[in-house]
């Protein structure tokens, strides 16, 4: 994962890390969608494994998650799909995002082991703050899975520093005081957070929550190393992607990533 960030040209602007709810729109769409992420030149991919009762997600991620669970998605199946994506030539870093209860039910050690063997590079657990993550972090460290922590606009500097010291891979910077969901603008609290994070660590910063398109990407040039696009992409898939998820994703990313010149 470090290589993926380091190998970007110095003036390229932030890389794009798109999010997909595994098993959405259809259970076996995940691998095709991950291949589109690769083809579009994304920096990495975030694979969301849905939970029935998410706390940090807005309406879009909630409803895609509900559908994916109804389709039969589980944490184990999500890891199998990651493995299958690797077998189909997907080489960008893959980061699993899920609620702690799914990992708890699966078994912490078993999860990290299976994730590493499925070709997964990192894990993000939005409801596992610093104080609760000691056990999982230790296992991640010993088996070589990046533990990507989250920091928010409400996080004080001292806590950002402490969190970043424990981070591997990158730091997930939450752009707003709120839940996931596409928004019009990246607000001042996001820029303030990114600056505060840079003062605490040299780790790459990925900005998530509310990032929806090309304009955001351009406006973040120089402000962070990556942006995470989740709800906007999922909205697009929800509206248009049920028939052909891969081409919907391809179109969305093309609009976001195509060089305007």
């Amino acid at each position: 994962m470090a290589t993926a960030f380091a190998s970007r040209p110095p003036n390229a602007g932030p890389g794009v890390i798109p999010y997909i709810t595994a098993g959405f729109p259809k259970l076996d769409d995940t691998v095709r969608i991950l291949r589109e992420f690769e083809l579009a030149g994304c920096l990495a991919a975030e694979i969301g494994i849905p939970h029935s009762d998410p706390l940090a997600d807005g309406p879009t991620i909630q409803k895609t998650g509900r559908l994916a669970i109804d389709n039969g998605m589980t944490l184990g199946l999500g890891l199998e799909q990651a493995s299958s994506a690797r077998a189909h030539g997907v080489s960008i870093p893959l980061v699993v995002m899920t609620c702690f209860n799914l990992i708890h039910a699966y078994g912490l050690g078993r999860f990290v082991f299976d994730a590493v063997h499925s070709g997964v590079d990192g894990v993000i657990v939005p409801d596992l703050p610093l104080e609760e993550s000691l056990g999982l972090r230790a296992i991640c460290q010993s088996l070589g899975l990046a533990f990507v922590p989250m920091v928010a606009p409400t996080t004080p500097d001292s806590r950002i520093r402490e969190t970043c010291e424990q981070a591997t891979g990158f730091v997930y910077c939450v752009s707003v005081t709120g839940t996931t969901g596409a928004r019009q603008n990246v607000g001042p609290e996001a820029y303030d957070l990114l600056t505060r994070v840079r003062n605490c660590t040299l780790m790459p910063r990925a900005l998530g929550f509310g990032i929806s398109g090309r304009a955001h990407l351009d406006s973040m040039k120089g402000a962070c190393e990556a942006v995470i696009v989740a709800s906007a992409l999922m909205d697009s898939l929800w509206e248009r992607g049920h028939a052909d998820a891969a081409s919907t994703v391809a179109r969305f990313l093309d609009e976001m990533l195509r060089d305007p010149t």
Binding site: D127, P129, G178
Partner: protein, 399 residues
């Protein structure tokens, strides 16, 4: 005495508890954790809280000897701790007043709350009206239908009631929605959680605000009976009235503590809310506790005739008290609950809430076969006026 139970770490009851929450609200939880002991050590705050509880909520509550019910059951004396006589009709007001006072002290101007049966919502709306804070209550659409009267009451009190249409449209979904609101508005908003659930420090805060129930009952009982009760019974959904009742007696090794959770239509059919009886440990709404979940960690739909017990988790301290065997948890079916409700109406002239009727049913089984000088104390956590429509549909023979 409860301090010895929180053995392992702050916010932990054995392995249970903790704070499994998004980073955004961690600083608010830390602020709350810092503020609670300061407030609880401030004589002015305690005096203000005591004043509201006595002059407005109606504390202390009486204890009633259920003589005719005792006679019918034929065993130990059944005594009722009458939380149903409190302003707004249930024990929920103890916690709501305390938390709204705390929120005001911390400079918060807006309150969010979740509610199942609506009792906590009404209590919070009432406290906010009395103390002049904005109030938003999240409630599942199914519960809004079951508890229409309470929805209207909250609106009369000036609260905004927001309908939650996700999932099973009950308490669990309302709780998640309230937490999401809190995540988005954490700077000016305090989340008044209604039960002894949620991330640390909520289970401790709610317990400490509810322990007045057991403290009063224990002192009152010692004066009246010159002895401690033999059995203490309370219903358990999230478990706030139960933990409030039990805490005073936990150090009394000879007092048997019994929690009554909802067996719904039965423990094997899957239509129940008996997380302690048949659940497994996991994290939900910020805490590690017993949950009704599938093998993958997805939360299962629940059922109980009583909206207040219709919840797939339980307070983490109850999870610990179950494992340590200090408290015995029984599951009471919808049918036994309704039967106990009818008996209390017809023999004592008291209409209990459906939630509290679970405790009455459990108390009847506990009292049976005991000596007449033994005492079974029941927390009658709320009154049943809010449940009239549900009861009427279930007991149609009265018209």
């Amino acid at each position: 005495m409860s301090a010895t139970l929180e053995a392992t770490a702050p916010g932990r009851f054995g392995e249970y508890g903790g704070a499994y929450v998004p980073e955004t609200v961690v600083p608010a939880l830390n602020e709350l954790e810092h503020e609670i002991p300061v407030a609880m050590a401030d004589p002015l705050f305690l005096e203000e809280l005591r004043g509201w509880l006595t002059d407005s909520a109606g504390r202390p509550t009486p204890m009633t000897y259920a003589g005719r019910l005792t006679q019918r059951v034929g065993g130990a004396q059944i005594w009722l701790k009458r939380e149903d006589l409190l302003h707004t009709g249930a024990h929920k007001i103890n916690n709501a007043i305390g938390q709204v006072l705390l929120a005001r002290r911390m400079g918060k101007t807006r309150i969010v709350a979740e509610t199942g049966a609506g009792q906590h919502g009404v209590a919070t709306a009432t406290a906010c009206a009395a103390l002049g804070l904005r109030c938003v209550v999240y409630m599942g659409a199914e519960d809004m239908r079951r508890q229409a009267l309470n929805v209207y009451k909250m609106r009369l009190m000036g609260a905004e009631v927001r309908e939650v249409t996700t999932g099973s449209q009950t308490l669990t979904d309302a709780t998640a929605a309230a937490i999401r609101d809190w995540v988005a508005n954490v700077r000016d908003t305090h989340f008044v959680i209604g039960s002894a659930i949620g991330p640390h420090p909520y289970p401790v805060l709610v317990r400490d605000l509810q322990r007045v129930i057991g403290d009063e009952a224990r002192a009152d009982g010692l004066e009246r009976w010159k002895q401690l009760p033999d059995v203490v019974v309370a219903c358990v959904g999230g478990g706030s009235n139960a933990i409030g009742m039990f805490t005073a007696f936990i150090g009394d090794a000879d007092v048997r503590l019994v929690g009554a959770e909802a067996a719904g239509e039965g423990l094997v059919c899957g239509r129940n809310a008996a997380s302690l009886s048949i659940g497994t440990p996991g994290t939900l709404h910020g805490t590690l506790t017993y949950l009704l979940q599938d093998g993958h960690g997805q939360i299962l739909p629940t059922h109980s005739v009583s909206a207040g017990l219709d919840y797939p988790g339980v307070g983490p301290e109850h999870a610990f008290l179950k494992d340590s065997r200090r408290v015995e948890y029984l599951a009471i079916s919808d049918g036994d609950c309704l039967d106990a409700l009818k008996q209390l109406c017809q023999l004592e002239g008291i209409l209990p809430a459906l939630e509290s009727s679970h405790a009455v049913a459990a108390a009847m089984t506990q009292a049976a076969g005991r000596r007449p000088d033994e005492i079974v104390l029941v927390c009658l956590s709320g009154r049943g006026d809010k449940d009239i429509d549900t009861i009427r549909a279930r007991v149609p023979e009265l018209g």
